[in-house]
Each structure stands twice: as structure tokens, then as C-alpha cells.
Symmetry: C2
Subunit: 117 residues, 2 copies
DNA sequence: CGTCATGTGTCGTATTTAGTACACATTTGT
DNA sequence: ACAAATGTGTACTAAATACGACACATGACG
């Protein structure tokens, strides 16, 4: 969708400055994909990988999985499952929060975390 | 996933009691798909249709699109877009609300609707 | 200077998604 | 009785998804 590939590349290259195990080949091997495939992903020559692969890649690069999935144009299957169990409720909530500033959403998160129910 | 097909069938057959324009063929035509395809969908012989088709079908049957999409194992693209814009925020919020009772979620929805921000 | 690792180009493929097209036997309506 | 409408079985398909395999030129470095 957006610059998933280039972002990955940038992060990997940053990590590489200090640690040469972050080459395309070695990262690909640890993530469990072909180096050529990772190379294509980073250059945006192919679409972002599957959710599972994206998550493994995020972990390997020390990034937040939900953020990487978002860059890949996806949403974690576990979040989807939660929403699907109460579609009306969550659909309303999310659409309500569309324009709300981060601050407001955060307040709600904290409120819920502190178990006001 | 669940009983998307049979649910559709039930709803359509209900509507049909009072209005014979709700045959497989006529509904299919209005929705813009082949009757054979709708038939297979209703019997669960094939997977639920695409988001666009599901939404048109829901409208045609007077059902909530988000609920029908949920039955189809999907989540509306517009909701996904909202989440993807602030993945960390929404991921946290949704996971927090996973176990919260409907009541608590509703309270949050109202709170936000009444614009406390 | 040789070799080893690196990034990438090319080609191929299995699986899933999202349907269409047609024919046919069976009601249903008049 | 007969035409029209109905539901469904069978067969096919175009496009997208998610990769793997291999070869090759270039560069790093000991």
C-alpha cells in the first residue's frame, strides 16, 4: 500500500550499521523466506508478505507488529476476530473515534484498562 | 466461517413469505450476481462473497452490513482504514475491550459520541 | 588475489478468491 | 395443460496471493 518495503529496508540498514548479521540474506534466513523474496519486498517489487511473515519480520527487526501490519495494509487476525464477535458495537466505536484526537482515544484506553466496569 | 449462507437463506425466505420478489433469481439479479452463485452461497457450497457483494446483499435484505460482513468473516474496509491510520492506539483499545461486557463498550461509545474531548 | 557473501533478475507454481455460463429438472401460476 | 419462473448441478476461468529455485554480477576482506 504505502512504503512498507522501503521502511523495512531503512530499518534493516540501520540495524546493519552496528551488526552485519542484518544483511538481506541473513535476515531472510532467520525469518524463513528466500533472500530474493525479501529483496523484492524491500524494493516494493512485490506486495507485502502474508500476515505471518510480516509478524516474523517485525519481530526480527524489533518493530511493533501492528504497525508493520498496518504499513502492509493489513490488520492482525486476532483484532479482526475480536471485532467480528460484536460487529455493531465495535463498528460504532471505531467510527466514532475516527476523528477523535489521539489524546481522547488514549484516555478511553486508560479508562478501560483501569477497569471502570 | 460460521453459517453465513444459511442465515442469508433464512432471511430471504422470511421476506419471501410476504413478497415473492425475494426468490433466489430475483434477489441475485438485483444484487448483480448469478442465481446459481447465490444458491451456492446460501447452501454454503462456496465461501461468502466479496465485501462489495456482501454489502449489496445485506442492503437488499435489509440487514446490517457490518453484521453480515462479520458472518462472512470479514471487516468493512473503511473500519480497517481507520485502524490502520493509528494501529497502536486502536490495537490497544480493541484488545483492552476484548473481555469487557457490552455495557462497558456502549458506555465508551456514548461517552465519545457526547464529545468529551 | 581469490573466495566468500551479498543483492537481485528471471522464471515458475500452488492456492485462494470471486465469480460466470449454461443446462436441466421441477414447481408454480393461469 | 402449458408457459414461465424457480433452484441447482456441472464446468470453467481470470486475477490475485504468496511464495521458491536458481543463476549471476558485484563487492568486501583476509
Amino acid at each position: 500500500m504505502t512504503h512498507f518495503g522501503p521502511t523495512i529496508r531503512e530499518i534493516r540498514e540501520q540495524l546493519r550499521e552496528g551488526d552485519r548479521r542484518y544483511s538481506v540474506r541473513q535476515v531472510a534466513q532467520r525469518v524463513g523466506i528466500e533472500p530474493a523474496y525479501l529483496s523484492k519486498i524491500e524494493r516494493g517489487e512485490v506486495a507485502p508478505p502474508s500476515e505471518a511473515t510480516t509478524v516474523r519480520l517485525a519481530r526480527e527487526l524489533g518493530e511493533d507488529a501492528d504497525v508493520m501490519l498496518a504499513l502492509a495494509g493489513k490488520i492482525s487476525a486476532d483484532l479482526q476476530a475480536i471485532i467480528r464477535k460484536r460487529p455493531r458495537l465495535f463498528a460504532d466505536l471505531i467510527r466514532q473515534l475516527k476523528e477523535a484526537p489521539d489524546e481522547a482515544v488514549l484516555r478511553v484506553v486508560r479508562e478501560v484498562r483501569d477497569g471502570n466496569w
